[in-house]
Symmetry: C2
Subunit: 208 residues, 2 copies
DNA sequence: CTGCAAAACTGAACCAGTTCAACTTTTTTC
DNA sequence: GAAAAAAGTTGAACTGGTTCAGTTTTGCAG
């Protein structure tokens, strides 16, 4: 059975994330002071740092949730992709993009990305890269499956193309988070164009 | 003729960049205190902030220099590319990568990237994106030229492929700066593989 | 139940980037 | 060339994330 200590720890952990989540949505990440988060979670500042190494670690908790859900949804697409290479890849891309603002704002994404680049040796950064890695693998998996289904040419290096596609969709996503005025539709349109160019070249004519 | 004020301003600007450059190389970007930079430039902290809005703006000065030189070298490649699509694109990529550590360390790159993502509305960020944009355009220009020379298939959307290639080389470069143990050769090898996969599919057989 | 060790909590102090009101220097005006 | 205006300089104070020495709480052995 879990002791008092364990239970309290879990409760506080949840309370802090809850408080942070609320304050982030309310006033943005930057504007949310640690002091305010601690207060809202009924905890001292010192205790906050007992649970999280950095303010940014709060984001990681949210980003992880986000990406894990996206990976799960993505599995569905890979398992039963549309019967056309262009449609299939776009479906996966759209799954990623559409989910991206459920828990996070653009500002929060920017902060998470920036932190993961700036401090690569933190647990945060390692985990973030790991999640990216998994997304990349999923794109590769889809391409491999399309190839097996005869929708991509036999000679295509699906790993290389999958990774390239991921880097592309990731790069465009960064542009999107960095451009306050850019809507989700513009992001999708941009990526769909890349996918169109790609599948026109490496796809077979089966689904054209 | 330039007044005393103008001359002093230019002199101080140079002195600060000079001091910062030295200290950054010596102990790294993070470790270089504004106070120390100001002191080395024989200027007060307040004056420093009269010349640069943020500490990171010092990086921009260096990054700009860096990228401008790279763009210049890249022009050479685009103007007279090797007679094979794979070789040509790799040559451009290598030009970019080889130059990347002349003025900047990995840590400095990370800081610059992180800042440009984190604070998109600063002059720093805008300029950084502009430089990225120019690099991207250069890749597109090369691809277009290769297509005109019959080294890429006629139907290929060189803009889409060029931009995708840039996003790819950029993404791998980020991985490189974030992985302290990764050597330049590993970075190049990774990108060359992508280019190989790409040119195998969209290249003509002329230079095979 | 008592005492002790380990774990967790606390908030005042720390640190480094940034700001700003007072001061100095340069330029302009007459 | 004196006086006012404009521009630039200064460092002490501010800000907000992070640390840490001292205190409290919990778990456990006797």
């Amino acid at each position: 059975m879990a002791g008092l200590r364990e239970r309290q720890k879990a409760k506080r952990h949840r309370a802090i994330i809850q408080a942070a989540s609320t304050l982030f949505k309310q006033n943005g990440y930057e504007a949310a002071r640690i002091e305010a988060i601690a207060e809202a979670a009924e905890v001292s500042v010192g205790t906050f740092y007992n649970y999280f190494e950095h303010k940014a670690d709060l984001l990681l908790a949210i980003v992880s949730m986000e990406v894990e859900e996206v990976l799960h949804q993505g599995e569905g697409v890979v398992a039963a992709p549309p019967g056309d290479a262009y449609e299939a890849i776009c479906a996966l891309v759209a799954t990623y993009y559409d989910h991206s603002l459920v828990y996070l704002t653009k500002e929060m994404w920017r902060t998470a990305m920036a932190f993961s680049i700036q401090s690569p040796d933190t647990p945060f950064s390692r985990r973030y890269r790991e999640l990216d890695q998994q997304l990349s693998e999923q794109v590769v998996a889809l391409m491999t499956r399309l190839q097996q289904g005869g929708l991509l040419r036999a000679g295509v290096d699906t790993r290389a193309f999958g990774e390239l596609t991921f880097l592309g969709l990731n790069g465009l996503f960064t542009t999107y988070t960095v451009t306050e005025g850019m809507a989700l539709d513009a992001l999708k349109a941009g990526m769909f164009r890349q996918v169109r160019a790609l599948t026109t070249q490496i796809g077979t004519s089966e689904g054209a």
